[in-house]
Amino acid sequence: MALRNIIGKRIGNGIGLVGRRSLSTSTSDVENRNAKSMNLYSAINQALHLALETDPRAFVFGEDVSFGGVFRCTTGLADRFGKARVFNTPLCEQGIVGFGIGLAAMGNRAIAEIQFADYIYPAFDQIVNEAAKFRYRSGNQFNCGGLTIRAPYGAVGHGGHYHSQSPEAFFCHVPGIKVVIPRSPRQAKGLLLSCIRDPNPVVFFEPKWLYRLAVEEVPEHDYMLPLSKAEVIRQGSDITLVGWGAQLSIMEQACIEAEKDGISCELIDLKTLIPWDKETVEASVRKTGRVLISHEAPVTGGFGAEISASIVERCFLRLEAPVARVCGLDTPFPLVFEPFYMPSKNKVLDAIKATVNY
């Protein structure tokens, strides 16, 4: 079946790329001592081990976390730290997050796991109305900064409507919380530790496609990566590409292809979606004059719209072409049509060429 070949190819490309190259070009963000090759869920697992080790008032809870979780991110935690600190909750997302807010308000570090980002919507009320506004409305008497919500998001090839959604845009509209999305194991470990230790509530989306596929050298020590700092992972001069999470590997492939046509692409990983690093992106756009944003979520109202509007505000006279957005279509996430829905390498490549030749 033709469809399956496409799906297979996407997976194949994903493995090839992310496995062989580290996407990070910055030289010294993390020391490389004692680096070990591991995949995304192992890196997250290590981060959680470190978080619980270093803070006796840290808890990990969620559905099925006790045996390791459906993606194995929490393996070994219950055995090592005990059932009082790592425990399963009943199946009630609203309760899980609300309960986490309460824990955080009393000074604990609550690391809540939502099993799939698609299930986060019952908890949306608690996140938006309670977590985001807690410090504000109590006049800084209480805060739930210790709350970190982890959820696997994004397409996985066969997830269908309810195991593939990218809800980051909904949360980016809420002042008071931070949204962080890592692109690789090494980034994930550092970013997750920063999120857990950040004094604000954070929603941490993990690209589930990369849990097993992305393999990278990850240092074994405790390290943190700064939030709200975007990273230029590929230098270029003709067009700036902005993305996050699993989509970056697709964009990187498109950049390589575009290189063959003489287009030099600069690729930026936003890492933190709110508050996002406008300065880095602006500096890059001032250099190239063109920008393309790509994400899996539907194009209308996706976070790309915010980036586009901000860049146009700041760099209007410098722009040589309209801001391009290559995103998912405005439909519910499809099952059989996933390859057509997704912003694939070819779509990104077409958009790069159209923008450069504008």
Binding site: R4, L91, Q94, H161, T331, L335, F337
Partner: protein, 432 residues
């Protein structure tokens, strides 16, 4: 235990238990006595008598249920629960469910279907016991474990298999896949991937039926809605909200809990403060029943009463069926957490073998007749696979259809052609 609604119209006769049941795991419809298997090793939950059930008109039939439990009963039992036709019908439905699910597993491992597939092996008695009592216009709302609910409700095996393969001939034109079986014709209001999401939908459907009868004066509208869901869902807010609404407005709905003791890897006993789910019914003012979900005849008896109540306009019922899934949560689940001894215990209570035994022992059917049914089902399932294989994959234009009601507002562009035929489609900028 005096419940809050002792002043309500329920009969105060306690349901007759079967104190002489010799086989320990065949509990009859239990109110007060927990079976050791159900609670596993935790014996500290002691029940006092809980909900009362309105049996004044039906006690005769119900007593017969307890009698069925005694396996050593003589063959010429005075009141059999089913006729031969009904028995064969039930048997066929359960075998269809089992054969279909086994074929799904095969097809999945051969790569013909993909996605997250959740199989129903072992729980067939619940689906058959309840849904076979419904009319076409009655509605069923299910979960992600919905293939067998669809089959019992009457959706053809071909349509379900095609849907699983993602073909246009599937019941939802390949749009939903395993977890989203819908059928307007058979009033199947969906499989829901999200736990608990279907229960409010079922509540709304039940309200419609009551509205039609009482306000629109369609006097013969006695449609009932069944909502199926699992034990994990019973800890979710939506469940409680709907119990309240249904009891408040006396809706014609039956809430059927398929308690298979596990929510992926979380044991029901460790996730729930009071694991006896049926007790939550009386808390909201409706009867709560616990039944052995591995025995289709018992389920059917309880279902008759519950559905009858709903049809007569007496309000909702909560039925907890103690059942078990023989396979893992989904085909991707290695199923390492469950104790093999527990699995073996429930495998011995396989509902299909139990019914087969009953039919043969009570001379309702012969081995040969049952074999014929099994062969017929094998052919039906094979035919379904062939049909699904040969069916066409949906065209790309289907991707943009049905987002909104008006296809021109989205699926068809201003030039009258489908938007996906627009050359800009490959650029991924399908702005509308």
């Amino acid at each position: 235990m005096a419940t809050a609604f002792s002043t309500a119209k329920f009969s105060t006769q306690p349901f007759p238990l079967n104190p002489t049941s010799t086989t320990s795991h065949d509990s009859s419809i239990v109110f007060a006595r927990p079976t050791s298997q159900f609670l596993g090793s935790t014996r500290k939950f002691r029940l006092t008598s809980s909900s009362k059930f309105n049996l004044s008109r039906r006690s005769k039939t119900v007593v017969a249920v307890s009698d069925v439990v005694k396996q050593k009963k003589s063959k010429s039992s005075p009141s059999l629960l089913i006729t031969k036709e009904e028995g064969l019908d039930l048997y066929e439905d359960m075998v269809l469910g089992r054969a279909f699910e086994d074929m799904c597993a095969q097809m999945y491992y051969r790569g013909k279907m993909f996605g997250f597939v959740h199989l129903y092996n072992g729980q067939e008695a619940v689906s058959t016991g309840f849904i076979k009592l419904l009319k076409q216009q009655d509605s069923v709302v299910s979960t992600y474990r919905d293939h067998v609910h669809a089959l019992s409700k009457g959706v053809p095996a071909r349509a379900v298999m095609s849907e699983l393969f993602g073909k246009t001939t599937g019941c939802c034109r390949g749009q939903g896949g395993s977890m989203h079986m819908f059928s307007r014709e058979h009033n199947l209001l969906g499989g829901f991937a999200f736990i608990g999401e279907g229960i409010p939908v079922a509540t709304g459907a039940a309200f419609t039926s009551k509205y039609k009868r009482e306000v629109l004066k369609e006097a013969d509208c006695d449609h009932v809605t069944l909502a199926f869901f699992g034990d994990g869902t019973c800890n979710n807010g939506q469940f409680f909200e709907c119990l309240n609404m249904a009891a408040l407005w006396k809706l014609p709905i039956v809430f059927v809990v398929e308690n298979n003791l596990w929510a992926i890897g979380m044991s029901h006993l460790r996730a729930t403060s009071d694991p006896h789910i049926y007790k939550k019914g009386p808390a909201f003012g409706m009867p709560g029943i616990h039944v052995d979900g591995m025995d289709v005849l018992k389920v059917r008896e309880v279902a008759k009463e519950a559905i009858g109540r709903a049809r007569r306009g007496e309000g909702p019922t909560l039925v907890e069926c103690e059942t078990y899934r023989f396979r893992g949560h989904s085909l991707a689940d290695p199923d390492e957490l469950r104790d093999p001894a527990e699995k073996a215990r429930y495998a011995a209570r396989d509902p299909i073998t139990a019914l087969k035994k009953y039919l043969i022992e009570n001379s309702l059917a012969s081995e040969a007749e049952l074999k014929t049914i099994e062969k017929k089902i094998d052919e039906v399932v094979e035919d379904a696979v062939e049909f699904a294989d040969e069916s066409p994959v949906p065209s790309r234009s289907q991707l943009l259809e049905n987002v909104f009601a008006d296809p021109k507002g989205f699926g068809i562009g201003p030039d009258g052609r489908y938007r996906c035929e627009d050359p800009k489609f490959t650029e991924g900028t399908a702005h509308v």
